[in-house]
């Protein structure tokens, strides 16, 4: 079946099987391999992308369900050569080791800050509670998101 999906701001039309999962559409059909997968049970969140600005698990969504919606992946965070504050925060505060969970974490962080520019530590931990990191122990991920929130607030003040 033919589907037209907006992905990272671009409308694409492709022929897909109804059963194709969004994560495979993103990775295999569109070649955007920044979004990962890590489980069979919708627990790990390595596959998190944004649908209409909200984090969803792309392994538990059909590509067909995304017709008429906007999908954003990690590849959309850097704009015109400028890294997003969440990306800078993760680098600044060592919020990643192997990097496998990182794209999902970045998208959730981005959506959180769009919705709540000054989240508490508790709110950050709740926001990422559907995603697993096997390396960092989460502490630096939380700090990274706080750093991004403060950085963005500072940038807004300067603007």
């Amino acid at each position: 079946m033919e589907v037209t999906i907006t992905i990272n701001g671009e409308q694409v039309t492709r022929d897909v099987e109804p059963r194709q999962l969004l994560v495979h559409f993103i990775r295999d059909t569109e070649g955007l391999t920044g979004t990962h997968w890590g489980c069979d049970t919708s627990n790990c969140g390595a596959c998190v992308v944004l649908m209409d600005g909200k984090p969803i698990k792309s392994c538990t969504t059909l590509a067909a369900m995304c017709v008429g919606h906007e999908i954003r992946t990690v590849e959309s965070l850097e704009r015109h050569g400028q890294l997003d504050p969440v990306q800078l925060g993760f680098h600044e505060l060592h919020g990643l080791h192997c990097g496998f969970c990182t794209p999902g974490m970045l998208m959730t962080a981005r959506a959180l800050l769009d919705h709540n520019p000054n989240p508490t530590e508790h709110e950050i931990r709740t926001a990422i509670s559907g995603q697993i990191c096997r390396c960092t122990g989460y502490k630096n991920i939380v700090s990274a998101v706080r750093w991004a929130a403060e950085h963005e607030a500072a940038m807004k003040q300067e603007a």
Partner: protein
């Protein structure tokens, strides 16, 4: 990763259209909303519907309506919306209690109340919430519409009264004075299904309990309405002793089975303790004082 078996797919453009499709394609057709119960089962190849009818476009089913004598919730309302609704939190705080411990925030962006109720997993929290609140369920059928109570809604494990060519469209929550409600859950890890959970709802009038709703999750083949415990409470003044007794009765009437989540005696113990705690908090909320 795991992948579903092939199926055909269509997008419903209306409730009637979805029902007509269910009729046309027979028992191998399923409705899909958030898909976070159905798709994981399909990926594990435990469920293999041949036809999926996607109802996510039916915005007319997404609402939380305060109508003074009742709150009406559309079947397609997402868990996140139920969690964030201040209207719902004020009238029925049991919803926010439960939503905070249902799955995780990302899954909650997609899962719906209709999907959760129809999945009929005994461990599912909103089933207990709606049963304790004595909700009425509106089911649309090819011929028309009917409304049934929660006590007739669950027929067996993973089986509801919603027929193969029918759709759950609305949940109605009667508003009565003196209401207080709470949900208590114990789980193995964040976001997990309950080892045991209890929803309790009280309506107080003149210092005594006019009505009570107690429902148990993950403690039997389906959601269990603890009617003996409910009966015990009617007409009596709330007290710790009364709620302890109700907890004991609820524990006796629970039907836990041993599994990976825990053994029978532990689950039964939880049934009692969580019933008591939920009732205490429900009473405190009904009396406008929160217990900490």
């Amino acid at each position: 990763m795991q992948t579903p078996a092939p199926f055909e797919y269509e997008r419903a453009t209306s409730v009637d259209g979805a029902i007509a499709s269910l009729q046309e394609h027979g028992p191998e057709a399923r409705l899909i909303a958030g898909g976070h119960s159905l798709l994981p089962m399909m990926k594990l190849r435990l469920a293999n519907p041949e036809f999926l009818i996607d109802i996510n476009d039916l915005d007319e089913l997404s609402y939380i309506d305060d109508r003074m004598t009742e709150i009406r919730i559309g079947a397609l309302t997402r868990h996140t919306e139920l969690l964030e609704s201040d209207v719902l939190a004020r009238r029925f705080p049991v919803f926010r209690d439960a939503e905070e411990v249902i799955a995780d925030p990302v899954v909650r962006n997609r899962g719906t109340i209709g999907g959760s109720l129809c999945q009929a997993d005994a461990a599912e929290d909103l089933s207990a919430v709606c049963a304790a609140l004595k909700a009425n369920i509106v089911i649309k059928a090819p011929g028309g519409e009917r409304t049934i109570g929660m006590d007739g809604f669950y027929i067996g494990p993973f089986t509801t009264a919603v027929g193969a060519d029918e759709m759950l469209t609305e949940i109605q929550l009667p508003i009565r004075p003196g209401a207080g409600s709470a949900h208590e859950k114990v789980e193995r890890r964040a976001g997990d299904f309950a080892i045991a959970a209890v929803s309790a709802s009280l309506w107080l009038q003149g210092g005594t309990i006019a009505d009570a709703g107690i429902a148990l999750a993950a403690l039997g083949p389906t959601t269990i309405i603890a009617s003996r415990a409910e009966e015990l409470l009617k007409g009596k003044a709330p007290s710790e002793e009364l709620f302890a007794e109700a907890g004991q009765i609820a524990a006796e009437d629970s039907m836990p089975v041993p599994d990976g989540r825990g053994p029978v005696d532990y689950k039964r113990h939880l049934a009692g303790v969580l019933t008591t705690r939920a009732l205490l908090r429900a009473a405190a909320r009904a009396l406008q004082q929160e217990v900490h």
